[in-house]
């Protein structure tokens, strides 16, 4: 098992009630696996159209998650 600390921002942070959450995953794990575990932990997040970032880059559902990766939940953005 590996522990992944996931950063949460904006609406995702408010729904989860925290700016970071620890997710347990069995290696090897993909972004899709991470999302599944994340939604089990914080069901309210599933309704958001989330993107996942790994090491500050958007990651597709099939990308691998590694133990030392910086993982973040990116709800719909709205700068400007």
């Amino acid at each position: 098992m590996m522990e992944i600390d996931v950063r949460l921002f904006a609406s995702a942070r408010e729904i989860a009630g925290t700016n970071a959450t620890r997710i347990m995953l069995t290696e090897p794990a993909t972004v899709k696996d991470l999302e599944t575990a994340l939604f089990e932990r914080h069901p309210g997040l599933e309704a958001l159209r989330l993107r996942i970032a790994i090491n500050a880059r958007y990651a597709p559902a099939g990308a691998q998650v590694h133990p030392d990766d910086e993982v973040a939940v990116i709800p719909p953005v709205g700068g400007g």
């Binding site: 921002f9 500050a56 880059r57 719909p76 953005v77 700068g79 400007g80």
Partner: protein
């Protein structure tokens, strides 16, 4: 004076500050876009906006946008984008985009691309706060 071309800052930002970061002497044109906190959206009066960012990734996406612009419009020399975060009152500047080119022609299309792309990929969020509630806003 700062030469950082891409920045997320809690401090007030000005057009002069951002344009001064462009120093390429070959330029003949500098174009700027300034995003300002709007006081009324639809029927509702906004009290203030609360901006939040994932700063490291936001700066990376701003660098990416500048790279994309230089690939699409070869006349564009430099791009600077500064976005403010934290609480902003109505009328305050949220974002300044400045870009330089040897001629004016490509600057306007490139500016539009920059702000559209920022709203699409840059991890910055804004919450509108009214007298009777609030909401995270996104055009996505």
């Amino acid at each position: 004076m700062s030469r950082r071309l891409f920045e997320i800052t809690p401090d007030p930002i000005s057009v002069d500050d951002v344009t001064s970061r462009l120093v390429d002497p070959r330029v003949g044109a500098v174009a700027t876009f300034v995003g300002v906190v709007r006081g009324v959206t639809g029927e509702r009066e906004t009290l203030y906006l609360e901006y939040e960012a994932y700063p490291e990734m936001a700066v990376r996406t701003l660098e990416q946008i500048a790279q994309e612009i230089r690939e699409k419009w070869t006349d564009i020399r430099e791009v600077a984008i500064v976005h403010r975060i934290g609480r902003l009152d109505v009328g305050e500047t949220a974002v300044v985009i400045a870009l330089s080119a040897s001629h004016r022609k490509e600057t306007f299309d490139a500016l539009r691309y920059a702000i559209d792309r920022l709203k699409e990929i840059t991890p910055i969020w804004k919450k509108e706060v009214w007298s009777d509630g609030d909401e995270w806003k996104s055009e996505q």
